[in-house]
């Protein structure tokens, strides 16, 4: 399972700085409510979200020697979520004390994210842009590319940009879908056609990336994989859990070499 960058099905008004009229605000507010309704269209994402959050939090707490039980465990860490949607990762990590920048190419997503952050009383720096368009001098302790590389045209170039904005001694976390017969059956046929978790056409199977390919791309950008895990769904318990099985959904933690 994975997210289309601007679901739920609203055509993306791309990066523009036009002034927003009330009808637009109503639309963003509706979109924001859809994104954030754990029982609505985005229910599958809400189901998997705690697992993604804990995987990232635990990796960060190990790396930066924080106590994962503290409600401020990420305080002071600068973090970017690339392809942030309406902020389902940005808000939790902000609550845990991180200074979070969320970027997304969809202006509607960014507007929805901003509206919700305001209601949650959280300060988050949302920007309607892409990592390629960002100031190349920006640096982050933690760079998240969750379910985005299967949507980009050049994975190698994209990851190189992500690596460039990762601080020496920083972390990068990538989540994506493996490419094999099983992921075709589960992520395309299962998630899009049988369960209808995602709109049809959300994913193109040939753009999925195998763990080996991902590791190679990261290596080319001077990043070493330190941790990896699969995410598996148990339909009986309606529960996601971490697993050694990386055949379909998987996540990878990579670290930069410490500057010598």
């Amino acid at each position: 399972m994975s997210m289309q960058s601007d679901s739920p099905n609203v055509s993306s008004a791309n990066a523009s700085s036009a002034t927003v009229d009330p009808a637009e605000i109503a639309k963003f507010s509706k979109l924001s409510a859809q994104w954030w309704d754990p029982t609505g269209k985005m229910a599958p994402l809400h189901k998997i979200n705690p697992l993604r959050l804990s995987f990232i939090r635990d990796a960060a707490c190990r790396k930066f020697e924080r106590n994962a039980k503290s409600l401020n465990c990420l305080s002071g860490l600068r973090m970017i979520d690339i392809g942030c949607g309406a902020g389902l990762l940005c808000e939790p990590f902000t609550r845990l004390g991180a200074q979070v920048i969320g970027v997304d190419p969809s202006a509607t997503n960014i507007a929805a994210a901003k509206l919700h952050a305001e209601k949650s009383q959280l300060l988050i720096d949302y920007r309607c842009t892409t990592v390629e368009q960002m100031d190349p001098r920006e640096r982050f302790d933690i760079v998240l590319a969750m379910e985005v590389i299967e949507h980009v045209t050049d994975v190698g170039a994209f990851l190189a940009r992500c690596a460039a904005i990762t601080k020496p001694g920083g972390l990068m976390v990538v989540a994506t879908l493996n490419r094999n017969w099983k992921s075709f059956a589960l992520a395309i046929v299962g998630a899009e056609y049988v369960m209808r978790w995602l709109p049809r056409g959300t994913h193109q199977w040939d753009k999925f990336v195998t763990p080996d390919e991902l590791t190679k791309h990261l290596h080319n950008s001077k990043l070493a994989v330190t941790e990896q895990a699969g995410l598996v769904y148990n339909p009986l318990a309606d529960k996601w859990s971490l697993s050694a099985d990386m055949d379909v959904n998987y996540m990878v933690v990579a670290e930069t070499a410490v500057a010598s």
Binding site: T39, P50, R57, L71, R95, L96, S120, L123
Partner: protein, 406 residues
């Protein structure tokens, strides 16, 4: 700007105070935890009742740092005798005995007087930084992202979650429009504390008399707490009797084992019923304890159930908060409801069947249940399973009930 909004708990009895304390320990000092209850001004508590604290709940109190204060005032139940008798029977055949330990050195349950426990909980909660407000929650208004809670003193709190811990006749449940279903038993429980001639040696007795169970639960010293079931009309008659007449009724049921018996306080009668709330949650609202369910006290599981709610809700909230998730949102509350509701229904059905089975004069039923109890008594694994269930250690157990900190 705080990262997470706070929690308001309406109701400061066992469940409300224990939840506040558990949340404070799990969440740390940054998230405000407020308990609102007009009864908090009546300290020390004057509640005359006593409660059986089963092992799992004792572990929870231990983890919350409350048990230490209560332990010297608690009477361990070292043994349990169950008999099935008619009132006129000269002797009461014993069908079931329990050696009272679930682990070496850990008794199956303790009897504690409510006032000791309430005072210890309130004291400890206050010391841990829980805000105790001696006023009621008068209204609240939930939105998608928060709830505005208005207290009796006029203050308004913008909270992530409101918890209804305001008892069986919960006003907050009513305000949320959450219906209950269940039924009244035509029974009432008479509660009285007695003093007796001989030492009870930590033995609890439950006599299944035709009108319903008559329980003798040991307190510290040569004292016991009685929970005595009668039809409502009979109960009303009995509590209205003169001291001397009441004494005769008492002697007739109390048996001879503990010698001369004397009531230490005025007997009080409580109507018995069973109900479960149709939902344990609402928008930015969670129901715990008696606000969510009341069961027949036949198996002594009422408080146990309430504390299971506490342990499950605290765990779900703390786990969400540690992931930065807004813990008042619908999917988090749903996890609590799924965890607790099935268990509650099952317990309700079980206690109801027990009551039907035992509050009955039918000779046939009496033979069936006696054979049943006899079989249980002779099959150690089955008996152990029953004891573990009764001690609150069956099913998917929340961490606090296993004695683990959150």
């Amino acid at each position: 700007m705080t990262a997470q909004r706070g929690i308001v708990i309406g109701g400061g009895a066992f469940a409300g105070l224990a939840l506040a304390l558990a949340l404070r320990q799990g969440l740390g000092p940054d998230v405000p935890v407020i308990v609102a209850d007009p009864a908090l001004s009546l300290r020390p508590s004057r509640d005359p009742r006593a409660t059986a604290i089963v092992a799992a709940c004792r572990r929870l109190f231990d983890t919350l740092g409350v048990w230490q204060a209560v332990a010297p005032l608690a009477q361990p139940i070292l043994d349990m005798v169950v008999t099935d008798s008619a009132l006129e029977d000269a002797t009461r055949p014993v069908f079931l005995t329990f050696a009272g330990q679930i682990e070496p050195g850990e008794p199956f349950a303790h009897m504690v007087e409510n006032r000791h426990l309430i005072d210890a909980l309130a004291e400890r909660a206050e010391a841990a930084g829980v805000e105790l407000r001696a006023t009621a929650v008068v209204s609240y208004e939930s939105r998608l992202e928060a709830t505005s809670v208005t207290l009796g003193d006029g203050s308004v709190i913008d909270a992530a979650l409101l918890v209804a811990a305001d008892g069986a006749r919960s006003k907050l449940r009513e305000r949320a429009g959450i219906a209950t279903y269940g039924w009244d038993y035509d029974q009432a429980g008479i509660v009285v504390t007695v003093e007796h001639e001989r030492d009870h040696k930590g033995c609890a007795e439950e006599h299944f008399l035709p009108a319903g169970p008559f329980a003798i639960l040991p307190l510290t010293g040569k004292r016991s707490s009685l929970v005595w079931t009668e039809s409502r009309a009979e109960a009303a008659r009995i509590v209205a009797l003169s001291d001397a007449e009441f004494h005769r009724e008492l002697e007739q049921r109390f048996g001879l084992r503990l010698g001369e018996v004397k009531a230490l306080d005025k007997p009080k009668s409580f109507p018995l019923g069973y109900f479960v709330a149709q939902s344990f949650i609402g928008q930015r609202l969670a129901l715990i304890g008696d606000a969510a369910h009341v069961i027949h006290p036949i198996a002594g599981q009422g408080l146990n159930m309430g504390l299971k709610d506490v342990a499950a809700l605290a765990e779900v909230i703390v786990d969400a908060a540690r992931l930065g998730i807004d813990f008042g949102q619908a999917d988090v509350l749903e996890r609590y409801q799924v965890w607790r509701r099935f268990d509650t229904m099952a317990m309700g059905v079980a206690t109801n069947s027990l009551n039907l089975l035992f509050s009955n004069k039918s000779t046939l039923l009496r033979s069936v249940r006696d054979i049943g109890l006899g079989v249980v008594d002779r099959l150690p694994p089955l008996k152990e399973l029953f004891i573990r269930q009764a001690a609150g250690l069956g099913g998917e157990v929340p961490r606090l009930l296993k004695g683990e900190a959150l």
